[in-house]
């Protein structure tokens, strides 16, 4: 039985739970119609963000997707500014201009979050080029869905990253669907982790609902990348509990086979880790304390957001360009 430091386990748990609670808070608030931005929730997928970002420093670069809340939280972004962004406020991380799909914060290495499927992949490769160019020892990580593995830029980016041996970590969150399209009707083989092989990029696959397994794989890949050995690809198999967009589950609409969602809910990454933690002597009290602390922080973020001012009308036209020389 592998030994993990107590603090390590608590950190993992705390990040994963923070994501879960953040998303659940959105679910409970959404009916108020004050969060007016399309939310792509990652409930059920939290272990991946937590297990990967555990190994990242603030200076490392991260690119995400339309389903970005979890990655931003795990990278350390400020909850207040995230929540305010969902509320469209001036104090939001993007000043209210980005919304749920484009959460970003350069201070945490999240320069731009794109909702174009696959679009973030070359951006991350480019950031990695910049890091290498500047001889920084930081890395770039990009999260993307199984849908992005359909897109040509994915392959072009793998090719380029391998060619230039760039410090970039490709993390695929395979939840088996792109909107309502199952992976099977889009890809002839279920082997995303192997797609980098023909470019010489090592690929790994893991249970994306097992945060320890994710962190183990991610840790190894990231060590390799930091050591200058070039890119790596990790496919994490997981499942989204909610509909593609919005706070409801869409299974009853016939979007997914009956029973599939409930089967995956039984494999809840948070619950699974909680029972592991219990076995490792992290007590129920301690977990409850963590949960209470996180809930309070999220509650505070909601209050912050709601009390924040709107952008000013003139800001509609600022930040289009910088004016130039």
């Amino acid at each position: 039985m592998k030994r993990y430091p107590h603090e390590f386990l608590k950190k993992l748990y705390s990040v994963m739970l923070e994501i879960r609670l953040f998303e659940e808070k959105i679910i409970s608030l959404y009916p108020d119609r004050q969060i007016r931005t399309p939310v792509h929730l990652c409930v059920g997928q939290e272990a991946i963000a937590a297990g990967v970002c555990l190994w990242l420093k603030k200076r490392d670069v991260l690119f995400s997707t339309h389903r970005c809340h979890g990655h931003c939280i795990a990278k350390g972004m400020d909850l207040n500014s995230m929540m305010a962004e969902l509320y469209g406020r001036k104090t939001g991380c993007c000043g209210g201009k980005g919304g749920s799909m484009h959460l970003s914060d350069p201070a945490y290495g999240i320069y731009s979050t794109t909702a174009i499927v696959g679009g973030g992949i070359p951006l991350a490769v480019g950031a990695a080029l910049s890091l290498k160019f500047q001889k920084r020892r930081d890395i770039a990580v990009v999260f993307f869905g199984d849908g992005a593995a359909d897109e040509g830029v994915f392959y072009e980016s793998l090719n380029f990253a391998a060619l230039k041996k760039l410090p970039v970590f490709f993390v695929c969150e395979n939840n088996f669907y792109a909107t309502n399209s199952s992976q099977k009707v889009r890809q002839p083989l279920d082997n995303i982790f192997k797609k980098g092989g023909v470019f010489g990029i090592p690929g790994f696959r893991c249970d994306g609902n097992d945060v320890l397994e994710v962190s183990r794989h991610a840790g190894r890949c990231i060590d390799r990348i930091r050591a200058g050995e070039g890119p790596a690809l990790l496919e994490c198999r997981t499942y989204r509990w909610k509909g593609h967009v919005g706070p409801d589950c869409d299974a009853q609409k016939g979007c997914r086979p009956a029973g599939e969602v409930s089967r995956w809910i039984k494999r809840c990454p948070v619950k699974k880790f909680e029972s592991f933690l219990r076995k490792r002597g992290v007590g129920g009290d301690e977990m409850r304390r963590i949960r209470a602390r996180l809930s309070a922080r999220i509650e505070k973020a909601v209050v912050f957001a709601k009390n924040s001012p709107w952008p000013q009308a003139r800001e509609l036209l600022t930040d289009v360009t910088g004016g130039g020389i």
Binding site: T37, R89, G98, M101, D150, N180, W310
Partner: protein
């Protein structure tokens, strides 16, 4: 050819008749699109429909709902690979089929601009007219609820600068059906640009098949005081504006060109010859907007007709903001059109 037996709409007959009047069958824009595709699939074995989500429980907001059940293998989902898929549809069209490719958002077509402009639009010319690309690319414009910068673009003016391509911009259910059938019947590639906010609007839609010819606009409402040239979602906004203006005694004439390429210049000039005033209501960005392009094209013939400067209602030159506060200021509606009308009077 299976298409020659469909009546081409008698253009003049529809003049001044608002869709929606009469006691005939009402359909939503989404239903009309669906019916057009259903009839095309029935009429012509070469027609098929591909697109992300065409066969899912949403059915592209209802516009393809359930068609995959009636037409097995001819209405199918695709990988998220907009570039290749557009090429694949173009290749299928070259080799004898009549594909309809559907995009949930116009924004995603940017991934396929090479296949649209370098390939589909040029294949006929490059082959000296011996090859054809009877391809329809349907794409929706999204709007609102914080859709933000990448899910709400309405850059249809870009397609006005692509020789070989035709561009339809249906503004109501009746046109949606007739233009889509005409697009599918057409031997050239057509960008068929829909607006999400029109999807639930109803108008009278005959059950029979009918084709609306490209390049023929329609006068949606007659009036002698001012001409409003309106595009896509701006057509119902202009109609609303003109109803309200009527209460102030202002009689606006509302013109819907229905297609941007080819474009019916005559109908605009004829109207302005009468009114001497022109407002263009267009929901694309100001710089390089359809409004600027069309005003530039018509600048000379308009000069002697206009009694006052024309006014363009467009989106400002910025990406779409997410915040509802900013979004409200970004978009234009009937109130902006009314203001514009007052300016030209």
């Amino acid at each position: 050819m299976p298409w020659t037996t469909i009546a081409i709409e008698n253009h003049t007959r529809k003049l001044a008749k608002d869709p929606g009047e009469g006691d005939e069958r009402l359909l939503t824009y989404a239903q009309a699109l669906r019916e057009a595709q259903q009839q095309a699939l029935r009429r012509d074995r070469r027609v098929f429909i591909a697109g992300e989500g065409v066969d899912d429980p949403g059915g592209i907001f209802g516009s393809t709902l359930g068609l995959h059940k009636e037409f097995t293998g001819r209405v199918f989902d695709i990988p998220l690979a907009e570039a290749a898929v557009t090429g694949i549809m173009t290749g299928a069209a070259l080799a004898g089929l009549r594909p309809v490719l559907a995009h949930m958002r116009l924004d995603f077509t940017l991934l396929s601009f090479d296949q649209i402009l370098n390939h589909a639009a040029k294949a006929r010319y490059m082959s000296g007219g011996r090859s054809r690309v009877p391809l329809v690319i349907r794409a929706l414009i999204g709007q609102g609820w914080g859709s933000a910068a990448q899910h709400s673009q309405s850059f249809y003016p870009l397609f006005m600068h692509m020789p070989g391509l035709k561009v339809a911009l249906p503004s109501n259910a009746y046109d949606a059906k007739g233009l889509l059938l005409a697009a599918i019947a057409d031997d050239d590639p057509v960008m068929f640009i829909e607006h999400r906010w029109l999807y639930d609007l109803k108008s009278v839609v005959p059950e029979k098949e009918y084709l609306i010819p490209f390049g023929k606009g329609v006068v949606r409402r007659r009036g002698a005081d001012v001409t409003i040239l309106a595009l896509s979602l701006m057509v119902p906004e202009a109609l609303k504006a003109s109803e309200e203006l009527l209460r102030e005694g202002i009689r606006a004439e509302v013109i819907d060109p229905r297609t941007l390429v080819p474009f019916d210049e005559g109908i605009v000039l004829k109207s302005v010859a009468k009114t001497g005033r022109l407002v263009i209501a267009d929901s694309s960005w100001r710089g390089g907007s359809a409004a600027e392009i069309l005003l530039g094209r018509l600048c000379n013939p308009l000069r002697p007709l206009l009694k006052k400067d024309a006014v363009c209602v467009t989106l400002p030159d910025s990406p779409t903001p997410a915040s509802p506060f900013l979004e409200k200021r970004f978009y234009k509606d009937s109130a902006d059109i009314k203001d514009a009308v007052r300016k030209v009077l």
